[in-house]
């Protein structure tokens, strides 16, 4: 069912955070840190001393906890944008299926099965 264009109600979409201005304001420093992970030397610097690296980018407590726990849903709640978070996940060799499984509370195999079944 397609929503008519003119209602423009922008109702909540379950399980979905729109990365709008409000989220952008909340997550700016977190995203800036994750953007820095495009460069190998920054990824190394993070791994060498995570806390110091978070400190350098001025992350708040909520963001630092979420980083410490590698918790993607918490990172999104704290203003993280998935395009930058993917670079954080990349540090640990995690791909979008790994983080998809984490966010949906599935094993990676369950998550892959779910994706495959979408083709049926």
């Amino acid at each position: 069912m397609f929503v008519s264009q003119h209602t423009q109600d922008n109702h909540e979409i379950p399980g979905t955070t729109i990365f709008d201005g409000e989220m952008a304001m909340r997550g700016y420093q977190l995203n800036k840190m994750c953007y820095s992970f495009n460069e190998a030397e920054n990824r190394d610097a993070f791994l060498a001393d995570e806390d110091a690296y978070c400190e350098r980018f001025g992350l708040d407590e909520e963001q630092r906890d979420a980083i410490r726990n590698r918790n993607v849903l918490s990172l999104i709640k704290a203003g993280g944008n998935v395009y930058y978070l993917a670079k954080f996940a990349g540090i640990f060799g995690l791909n979008v299926q790994d983080i998809g499984a984490q966010q949906t509370g599935m094993t990676v195999d369950e998550f892959k099965t779910k994706l495959e079944s979408a083709g049926d």
């Binding site: 397609f2 264009q5 729109i18 990365f19 201005g21 952008a24 190998a40 998809g100």
Partner: protein, 280 residues
Amino acid sequence: MATILGGICTSHIPAIGAAIARGAQDDDYWKPFFDGYPPARDWLRSVQPDIAVVIYNDHGLNFFLDAIPTFAIGAAHQYHNADEGWGLPTLDPYPGDPAFSWHIINSVVEDEFDVTMCQEMRVDHAFTVPLSLMWPDRSEMHIKTIPIEINTVQHPLPSPKRCYAFGQAIGRALAAYPKDLKVVLLATGGLSHQLDGKRAGFINKEFDLRCMTEIVDSPEALAALSTHELVELAGTQGVELMMWLTMRGALGSQVRQVHSHYHIPVSNTAAGLLLLENAA
């Protein structure tokens, strides 16, 4: 005058680049995906384009939130790929055609599109993966490239309607270029997928198949969707359909579908491929 031969829409996810890098094209998982591509390559070999205008979205390589353009057009002599943070090999630079880029920029700004003009622009997987799919052997890739980038990172995104109109302006610009060059458009991204949130893994085959059909003969219907509707129907990253709509706007009102391919899933994504030739 330049001629627009046609356009190709294709998915662009990094996992495709990774599969190419490790030569996994014939693996059970990847074969059904890669099998869709030979007809597009054959067509390119037969029409021999001079220029590829690549309509894509940056994923946090060239642009950060300090300054996110709605529409950006490259005008560089070369476009460099770079490390995106997850281990894809960095590919050789892509040659540009800055004089042609400036022609497009002049034309679309006169048409009241407020583009960001980029004389340096690092291009990410959304630019490189489709080119690798079309020309697996770089020594056979004799085209110059013009990257056109559309914001999918920071809401508000340009509406599908605005993207379609932008594409129409690009089409006018291309057709008015005084040099005899053959142009192909590549639109990269899609189809439905969502990477983030509890809805991660969302795929909407019904909507995708609607897109594959309507983009050919009734793109206005898709262009009438709001961004929010598009997020709901296609997922947060499925908004990349905007690239397809922009490309469709640049093609003529009459197009002929030469090839289409749809496969679920590659990584988290429903992969679509569509080749449209401009009707004479």
